[in-house]
């Protein structure tokens, strides 16, 4: 049997908007992923620690609070410090296109804005894992 892709769906910072995170978490689960949901109000350290513990292939962050320019880079940096260079950091939320572009240039994976379909996200993750995780 093919190994299931393991994803940590994370809510970092003080943001409580969890509609998107939960919809994506359940859609990924139905698509055959192993999904771990971090719960709310997690610090970047807690997110990265949980990702390490759970040995995930992907961290997907949902940020609707406007703190994305702080939280994505911080989590990326912590991942690098822990040697998690083969783990994908992706996500979505209220992120203007210019910010998404800047974050992607800094090494974050693709970010999904309002109106994204779960099918696109599933395809993106499967493709990334096939190319980058062996």
């Amino acid at each position: 049997m093919e190994k299931k892709i393991r994803v940590l769906v994370g809510k970092a910072g003080l943001d409580g908007h969890d509609r998107g995170a939960k919809v994506i978490a359940s859609a990924l689960r139905d698509a055959g992923f192993e999904v771990i949901y971090s719960g709310l109000h997690q610090t970047p350290e807690m997110i990265v620690e949980a990702a390490l513990q759970e040995d995930v292939d992907v961290i997907g962050l949902s940020i609707l609070s406007g703190a994305h320019m702080t939280l994505f880079p911080k989590i990326k940096k912590l991942m690098e410090e822990k040697g998690m260079n083969d783990v994908l950091l992706t996500g979505g939320g209220i992120i203007p296109p210019d910010d998404a572009k800047a974050l992607e240039e800094q090494g974050t994976g693709k970010l999904f804005g309002p109106g994204s379909e779960s099918g696109e996200i599933i395809a993106y993750i499967k493709d990334w894992v096939a190319k980058n995780r062996s």
């Binding site: 003080l14 969890d18 509609r19 709310l40 406007g66 209220i94 309002p114 379909e117």
Partner: protein, 555 residues
Amino acid sequence: MNNGYLDKVIAQKKQWREAKQQKTRDRDAKFVTVSSEPIKDLYTPDDSQDVDFFEDIGFPGEFPYTRGIHHNMYRGRLWTMRQFAGFGMAKDTNERFKYLLKHGQDGLSVAFDLPTLMGVDSDDPKSEGEVGTCGVAIDSLADMEVLFEGIPLDKISTSMTINSPAAILLAFYICVAEKQGVPQEKLRGTLQNDILKEYTAQKEFIFPPEPSMRIIVDSVEYCTKHVPMWNTISISGYHIREAGSTAVQELAFTLADGFAYVEACIERGLDIDEFAPRFSHFFNSHIDFFEEIAKFRAARRIYAKRMRYKYGAKNEKSWKLRFHTQTAGCSLTGQQPENNIIRTAFEAMAGVLGGTQSLHTNSLDETWALPSEYAAKIALRTQQIIAYETGVVNTIDPFAGSYFMESLTNKMEQEAEEYFERIDALGGVIPAIEKGFFQRDIAKAARKYQDEIEAKDRLIVGVNSHKEKDEKLDIPILRIDEKVTKEQIDSLNKMKTGRNQVSVDESLNQLREAARDGSNLMPRFIECAKAYATIGEMIDVLKVEFGVYKEPIIF
């Protein structure tokens, strides 16, 4: 209505439907509301035959208030145009407030940033990246003084969207007023102060439900005695809907939360007819026009009946469900954002036709950022066009008597009643929260909605239909200056060096004592505020006493 008449209607409708099926074919589409409620092709007198004009509809300003809570509705006074605003430091938001007042807004509505909502100070590591980003940063009374500088608090009403630390922000407001020479008896405004929907929807909780309820009842008790014109709780369905609920769930869960506050205040020994007239509600107005209007009408009727017959309220003011409406942020799209102006206008119109007392219209850019000044002005203008140009304000509750509207209103009332029974069977609102009942139903509805969009059973213009190729975002985006965090922390540090540490410690000690001995916390919050203790300092004291809440994980 005599049965012969209805029989004739039913017989002729059958013939009509046969003819319709012979001559025409409906499009291949699902005729359901945004909440997936099926809607018939035609409504006739038999659909609303259970509706008794006197019992169920009646007259505006009279029980059960289906048609509105005032005798004259908008022929007397228009709704309050109240745009929610807040970003950056207090001085930035103070400028926006003055801008909105200058352009004809009637009341203020403060959006606080997440650290303020969560009771942590701007210099706390948890606040990193969040200071002033989705609301204004308030750490202490000093910030609140800047926020309302030059705005006379005896002339304006202020709504504050704040929940876990609501009583603390109210204490700040009372202190600012006192400095302006305005006694607390004269203050008008609304505190959201609705913790129950935090556990089910907005998720900005701090303490477990029981001590949270105690703080709320403390603030209600205090205001009933000392700030009599203040709306103590704004029982909110808005966030429940934004979290993905259906219209009926929003209606039922919100009203259930409200009744839980009523019961908690009665249990404290407060007189329902003293506190209930200051309860208000806050609903979402989503894109499904008729369903929303029916929801507002059903809400008033259910509330009036329960307050009168179940809780025994005798004061008419206790029976009246007053509400604020905000158009649905979750209905807006990032794609072709100008289309959001149209969505918001329809939603706002539904709020007005549903008899709202105040209204916030969302800005076209809200799926990308906080509103720019440009977008905020269009949103306000939308309300002004409805009020002054469309003529909908001329007559009261114009949809009353519509076979469709009355049947839909009835159906929503019945479905809400079924939810109340299920909540009662679980032991009430708090046990139902602990069992994850609301959270599970809301998450299911949110997932279903998304699935319908992805299956194209539900079309959203610009998202899964009528898309534009290579669309570029071409609207101004409000950016919060990165300097805000540093400036806010500097200002907090400066404030701390200038205050009397002995008074701070003393007031915090008294707060701790009151938390332990069960006496009302409001006077203690006011003393802490006057000593310039920060929100974080007060909340930290209470976290030790009350503990912190961890939610069940459900998805």
